[in-house]
Amino acid sequence: MSSAVSKAIFEPLEFRNLTVKNRIFRSNLSGRFDLYDGTGTPARINWEVKFARGGVGAILSAWCGVNLRGRIVPNYASIDGDARIPFWRELGERVHEHDCKFILQLAHAGRQRDIPGFEIAKGLSSTDRPDPLHGFQCERMTRAQIAETVEAFAEGARRAREAGLDGIEIHGANGYVFTQFLSSAINDRDDEYGGSLENRARLLVETVRAVRTRVGDDFHVQVKVSATEYGNALMPWAPKGNTIEDSVQVCRWLEEAGADAIHVSSGNTFPHPDNPAGAFSPADVVGSYDVMLSSGIHTFRNYLLFRTPGVNKLFALRAARRPREIEGKNLPDARAIKQAVSIPVLCTGGFQRASVIGSAIERGDCDAVTIARGLVANNDLVRLFEAGHDEPPNPCTYCNKCLYNVLEHPLGCYDERRFASRKEMIREIMTVFDGR
């Protein structure tokens, strides 16, 4: 590795309220490791410690719900009450042992509840139209519900701070509640939370302000945004949604409202063909999409589509992205935002080569990268970079099987080709339960 590349990756990154030892962050990924009600478990701690040990500078946590109605699926540890604080404190302490920071992602699914659970039938959104892909049903948020949501984020942030964590990230990307407000393709309100970009951004900006007020000026607060929504990526007739120009403006407002950093992603749903970009293998999707059949009004249609030869091939052609298009695909968006704001910009999207990461930072496209799949495949990726590898010997193939297995099986790398045998793969996946 050239010394310039190495210097860029291993130089500490200073935010206003936080210093991270290097430029590689573990990006958000979850896994149903916890109890149904949102109580954290030792498996979650084991999972995060794997990455801390592997050398990343900071971990952006799993998708962490701020309240019950905003839950995405059961079995993700939540932060919906003060009783959750001790778990997050323990997790933070275990991660800190490896000189790694821990930033809690505060999230609300809005209508995008993949498995709503038995408690509350309908999600809340900017609109009362179900999402076009799965048909998750929802109710339009009232003013009071909007205020409650903002308050839930402020409380989540306070709890994260009390737990001794290093900061929070407000999940404003990937189709969850803030995207549902931000997006011109989704938001159909005619009050001050809909219509103009300023109005659509109001919920997110108010949330950043409320969080900032609650936690004070000396706690790290960052926001994840989908810079380009690519709303028509699957269905060509669908509206595109927000463009990078819209998002640049939103990021300026976020900076004014008190954000310390922007985390750049893409896509107005999750998953989305462009995030995580990669393969779409119907056989694997069918294996766990079945659990979602009761979640939406179009899920049965989709399941039939995914099972039907020919039709599923067409869908896969539309949804899949070629591996060489993946690494760094959000860098142009990150660059546009970085030029518009003065706070650091993090960028996600298939990173796993030191030279690609190093030159992106050198060029000023972003200040750091965040990695999910590449680190699931190689927990020790940063150590490999330290040892001089440009790319891990056994890289992530972007097969997306980690994603397609997550609803029914433990999160981990499910690309059998990366292991000596299937048995070996399962052994590696199951290590999360005994802390190896």
Partner: protein
């Protein structure tokens, strides 16, 4: 009668009401136990039952029914069961571990081996769960695994083990004339078909000695033709009574009488087939078996689902639910001299007392009515003949457990839906220890 002590071999139980085996996916994917499992079982111990027959604890990684049930397949599981046993003992309640190998009845096989083990290569007929016929070596391995599991239960300080020989589990798959199609020493005649069960009992007895309670749960009438009318009915009562005598000779301390060569079965748990509720969670099983998609379509399609519900509920309508298995228990009791436990919808003190007085059985085991009223025995002690809000046999507890926490989902039993949610989710909070 109900409050007279009962001897089960070396074990004395304080009364005649035992909690029957109910599981719930409260544990980790890998089979490590959680505090939730402890909270769950302590609920019943506090409610006054004399003994608890545990959740279905797999004796082998391949023998699990679904992921998320605490296992007893490794020595490092012992501390969990010890902790659970101690918490239950605080309430003067005995704890019997139900040790299980599901064979082909794996409703969610999880990672690991894709194909279950059985007496046969023929897939399970209802859902089409695939399997292959066990070799003689594999039979020996499973027999030894049962013995090792019993040893672990004893080392954990539990009060006994019960072999899950009923309800379509692996021993049923050998016992059943409708399932077992072997031509070796383990198939053909009743003696041969019973060999596996007898070897398990002998191996456990040799391992744990005479001082440890050993029970066997048996479906004394298989009635597979009540599941699907074109199936052979399987073992008759006459055949099963011979098996009961052999089990007694082999050293069991009690017999636990159930019915049905598969699970669930119209007579076990007898009651409703709530198709609309079934559809919401049966979807999870679609990738588990060859006929699951067919069944899912039937369950969601009017009028097929009405016909199926009518068919399923027919035996309950014709013979009633509470004490549905008492004639079979009485026959077993006349055939053997060890105590006989009977399961099947019990929730009325007078019905239970009369059954015991008449000599139909020595004690009853209860699952659903205790899920509805964990304090049922305390209510009997206070003089109630029935709980004020009895179990309705709606079977929603059963049909929710794959995706949702086990509990009573009969909304009509609660003042409000909120009360129901609170009650179901209370399992995640440790009960207070003060009233121990």
């Amino acid at each position: 009668m109900i409050f007279e002590a009962l001897r089960l071999g070396p074990l004395t139980v304080k009364n005649r009401v035992l909690r029957s085996s109910v599981a719930g996916r409260f544990d980790n994917y890998d089979g490590s136990g959680t505090d939730t499992r402890i909270n769950w079982d302590v609920k019943f111990a506090r409610g006054g039952v004399g003994a608890i027959i545990s959740s279905n604890a797999p004796i082998d990684p391949r023998g699990g029914i679904v992921p998320g049930y605490a296992g007893v397949e490794r020595d490092d599981r012992i501390p969990f069961w010890r902790k659970l046993g101690e918490r239950v003992h605080e309430h003067d309640c005995a704890y019997i571990l139900q040790i299980v190998h599901a064979g082909r009845e794996r409703i969610l096989p999880g990672l690991g081996e894709a194909i279950g083990l059985s007496s046969t290569d023929k897939a399970e007929p209802m859902n089409g769960f695939p399997c292959r016929s066990m070799t003689i070596a594999e039979i020996g391995d499973v027999v030894r695994a049962f013995a090792a599991a019993a040893r672990r239960a004893r080392e954990a300080g539990l009060d006994g083990v019960e072999v899950a020989g009923a309800n379509g589990m692996l021993p049923t798959q050998f016992l059943s004339s409708a399932i077992n199609d072997r031509h070796d020493d383990y198939g053909g005649s009743l003696e041969n078909r019973a060999r596996f069960a007898i070897e398990i009992v002998r191996a456990i007895r040799a391992e744990v000695g005479d001082g440890f309670c050993l029970g066997f749960k048996l479906s004394v009438r298989e009635r597979l033709n009540e599941l699907l009318p074109w199936l052979p009915s399987g073992n008759t009562l006459t055949e099963s009574l011979r098996v009961c005598r052999w089990l007694e000779e082999a050293g069991v301390d009690y017999l636990h009488i159930s019915v049905g060569g598969g699970f669930p079965h119209p007579r076990n748990p007898a009651g409703r087939f709530p198709a609309a509720d079934v559809v919401k969670t049966f979807d999870t099983l679609l990738s588990s078996g060859r006929h699951t998609f067919r069944n899912y379509l039937a369950f969601r399609t009017w009028p097929l689902n009405r016909v199926f519900s009518w068919w399923w509920e027919r035996p309950s309508r014709r013979v009633g639910i509470e004490g549905i298995n008492l004639p079979e228990a009485r026959a077993a009791k006349q055939a053997v001299s060890v105590p006989v436990l009977c399961t099947g919808g019990f929730q009325t003190a007078s019905v239970i007392a009369n059954a015991i007085e008449r000599g139909d059985c020595d004690a009853v085991t209860i699952a659903r009515p205790l899920v509805a009223n964990p304090e049922l025995v305390n209510l009997f002690a206070e003089g109630h003949d029935r709980a004020p809000r009895p179990c309705t046999y709606c079977n929603k507890c059963l049909f929710n457990f794959v995706e949702n926490p086990l509990g009573c989902y009969e909304e009509r039993r609660y003042a409000s839906r909120e009360e129901m949610l609170a009650e179901i989710l209370s399992v995640y909070r440790m009960p207070e220890r003060v009233d121990a």
